[in-house]
């Protein structure tokens, strides 16, 4: 298929006001995002293991190679350093590669190229080289997989200066955030909650989305604030609904961007509620939630009615499947933390 030779389209601010609403899974949303990026910019490439005929192990790239050809959608050799390392070279050449890492636990062979080259080349070259690379990473647990398939390594990347890290939580965000990430001139680590791939929700492909690196209040409430991202957003929204039935209105913030963090909405919320519960599947120590706790005590010290509490995975390697129900933050653990916060 010959893609029209167009400049990349800016996304996020050119709303037509029209509406093209459909109910889709997150996997489909991501697919649509890559499809429209491939269509609108001939420099966009999709690359990764099994992304071609198979459409990726989660079928997120389904049909893309059929429609755009093997030169736009590259089923690569099995080598993560190779995927990221060649994407770096392609970006130097002016391409905009969108890499798929098959599972969270397999990103580590590519970690060196991410940290040593992808994150640093813009700075090292004093801006002369642009690293417009997206690395998509299905992350998180809850799918009953064997080890190395359920991890949450996002904090490791949030700590790396030079890359940006985002996590989507629903089909509409998945679409718009991925389109914006591909249009972004900085390298973006794009975390996708694999356990939510097949949950459906509305997507309006003509909507006016918020900027990529912002958080968003998903539910208003005055009793306490919950800030979360990725797979636990859904869990926290469910917890907020359950709490509302008992008369407790919780505010839920989807962080969306983990680096940079957009914490103003969280600060604003905490100043009103005086309480913050953070939820994430990642181990707690030295993580994104640690950072938020530190910043909130710095900015909202006099507003806090209770210590910042966290509901997270434990500081252990991800457990075997039969134990993951105890490891993953669920509705009850979130509500328990809310209760502890309210009890102060």
């Amino acid at each position: 298929m010959a893609a029209p030779a167009m400049e990349r389209t800016d996304v996020g601010d050119g709303s037509t006001g029209r509406s093209a609403v459909q109910t889709v899974t997150m996997a489909k949303s991501l697919n649509l995002a890559m499809r429209s990026a491939l269509e609108s910019d001939p420099k966009v490439l999709v690359m990764g293991e099994d992304v071609g005929k198979l459409g990726g192990v989660f079928r997120v790239t389904d049909g893309l190679q059929k429609d755009f050809g093997e030169h736009r959608v590259l089923g690569t050799p099995l080598a993560e350093s190779g995927i990221i390392g060649t994407a770096v070279g392609l970006a130097i050449r002016g391409y905009r590669p969108v890499c798929e890492i098959q599972f969270d636990g397999f990103i580590f062979p590519g970690y060196d190229q991410i940290v040593s080259q992808l994150a640093k080349l813009h700075f090292r070259s004093q801006g002369k080289v642009t690293m417009s690379v997206v690395v998509r990473v299905p992350f998180g647990g809850g799918i009953g997989a064997v080890e190395h398939h359920s991890e949450s390594p996002e904090s490791l990347f949030a700590h790396v200066a030079g890359v940006k890290v985002v996590a989507c939580s629903n089909p509409a965000d998945a679409y718009w955030m991925l389109r914006q990430a591909i249009a972004c001139d900085d390298p973006v680590l794009f975390f996708e909650p694999k356990r939510r791939y097949y949950e459906k929700a509305e997507l309006d492909t003509e909507a006016q989305p918020p900027p990529l690196f912002t958080s968003r209040v998903l539910r208003r409430g005055s009793a306490a604030t919950i800030a979360t991202y990725g797979p636990t957003v859904h869990t926290c929204l469910a917890a907020a609904s359950a709490a509302a039935e008992e008369g407790t209105e919780l505010e839920v913030v989807d962080l969306r961007s983990l680096s940079p963090l957009d914490l103003e909405p969280v600060f604003e919320s905490v100043r009103r509620t005086g309480r913050l519960v953070l939820a994430s599947e990642a181990p707690a120590e030295s993580s994104v939630t640690s950072e938020i706790a530190a910043r909130v005590q710095q900015e909202c010290f006099y507003s806090l009615e209770a210590p910042v509490l966290r509901v997270t995975g434990f500081d252990v390697p991800y457990p075997p499947t039969k134990l993951e129900k105890h490891y993953l933050p669920d509705l009850d653990r979130v509500l328990d933390a809310v209760d502890r916060s309210l009890a102060f």
């Binding site: 080598a79 070279g89 130097i92 050449r93 040593s116 070259s125 001139d185």
Partner: protein
């Protein structure tokens, strides 16, 4: 180059004779403990497959596959390149000794490999160096002073990789092999291969780097995507203190066979052979027949870096043996004997190199301190609010130390 039948090579990697004629490993002589410790086994000849056009004695020899004609003018230019490159390399070393540079990475002994490869490249080709490729930088048209910032600590490379066709130095061993492969894939996707006007990419790495996964992956990717990629390995026999025997059991050029593309071992101290083989390899890539692996069989005549102490791991004999193969000296002898190069030519080159060294040196002394704001600039294409806030706070803090302006309005 057709794949040849394989027999287990003798141990260790660099046998004097062509390994394919060696008996199986069981009967091959093992190096003595002392030899391994001294690394002496690494100093042997390149073997029967070594492509050479100019002997260490300065005698022109022909090669059935890679011979090309050089005019007297070209020979003089190559000589001049090598002398100038060696001169500013020595100056860099001296500047480090005088405390002007934090570190220097010497290329002494590798001038022919680098100038040969660098001169084979065309402007639109792309070079991905590691950190010792000062000679390639020279051939790509960089002013040598551009290299100083990295070693003085004022920048990570001040040149524009895209307009110079010379990527930034890469310190993490092997990373650049994959970056180069991706770039070469891009050249191919852009339709820039297929005829004489095609583009190619050349990536430089050492013998130690061949042990890294990234170099292996680059060969896999280069091969399966038919990338216009010349993998130029400078086998200088040592990876800091680890001899070649710690990296491989087969001559490195022969690894290419396993990936499905040609591998050639060239005399890395012979600038003519290095140029001829590189030109052939780049042409293969331009026409869509890449990749090609070149092993330039050479020797690092100085320390690994100015922080290294080679006397701890190698014997003087080894260095002395390699001095007899000096890349510059052999071309000088050839120019005198066969091309009537007179003393005035050598004097001119000498004068030019002295002037370059002086300019290099003066430039180094005059380099300004970088502005503190550089710490925060160009981290992201789109400014990060976190970094911006940290910059503003730090600059405000530094402002607090500024001397009040003299004779102002107050």
């Amino acid at each position: 180059m057709s794949p040849e039948h394989w027999t287990r090579p003798a141990h260790p990697a660099n046998e004097t004779d062509d390994v394919r004629t060696e008996p199986p490993a069981a009967t091959a002589a093992k190096p003595t403990r002392e030899q391994v410790i001294a690394g002496l086994r690494a100093t042997s000849e390149g073997g029967a497959d070594l492509v050479q056009l100019l002997t260490p004695e300065g005698q022109r020899v022909s090669h059935p596959d890679f011979d090309i004609d050089f005019t007297a003018e070209q020979l003089r230019d190559l000589y001049r390149d090598m002398v100038l490159v060696r001169r500013f390399d020595r100056e860099g070393n001296a500047l480090q000794r005088q405390g002007q540079l934090g570190i220097w990475v010497p290329l002494l002994g590798q001038e022919a490999a680098q100038v040969g490869a660098g001169r084979a490249m065309r402007p639109r080709d792309m070079a991905f160096p590691s950190y010792r490729e000062h000679g390639v930088a020279w051939c790509r048209g960089l002013d040598p002073t551009e290299l100083l910032g990295i070693f003085r600590g004022t920048d990570h490379g001040s040149w524009d990789p895209l307009s110079t066709g010379f990527h930034l130095y890469t310190i993490v061993i092997g990373n650049q092999a994959l970056n180069a492969t991706g770039y070469a894939m891009g050249q191919k996707f852009d339709g820039k291969v297929g005829d004489d006007d095609g583009e190619a990419t050349m990536v430089f790495f050492g013998d130690g780097a061949t042990s890294q996964g990234d170099v292996h992956e680059a060969m896999v990717w280069g091969s399966v995507y038919d990338a216009p990629l010349v993998l130029f390995c400078q086998n200088n026999q040592w990876a800091i203190s680890e001899p070649l025997e710690r990296q491989t059991r087969v001559p490195l050029y022969r690894r290419a066979e396993g990936y499905g593309f040609p591998g050639i071992r060239v005399d890395g101290n012979d600038v003519l052979a290095s140029l001829a083989v590189s030109q052939w390899a780049l042409d293969e890539c331009r026409h869509g027949n890449g990749p090609v692996l070149i092993e330039a069989f050479t020797y690092r005549m100085d320390a690994h870096t100015t922080t290294d102490d080679p006397t701890r791991y190698r014997l003087t004999d080894e260095l002395e043996a390699w001095k007899l193969k000096d890349p510059i000296e052999r071309l000088r002898v050839h120019l005198v004997r066969e091309h009537d190069a007179g003393q005035d030519f050598f004097d001119d080159v000498q004068a030019e190199s002295d002037a370059l060294a002086a300019r290099f040196r003066d430039f180094c002394f005059a380099m300004p301190e970088p502005d503190p704001s550089r710490i925060f600039s160009e981290v992201y294409a789109e400014e990060s609010p976190v970094v911006a806030a940290q910059r503003d706070e730090q600059l405000r803090y530094l402002d607090g130390f500024a001397e009040p302006a003299q004779g102002g309005a107050h």
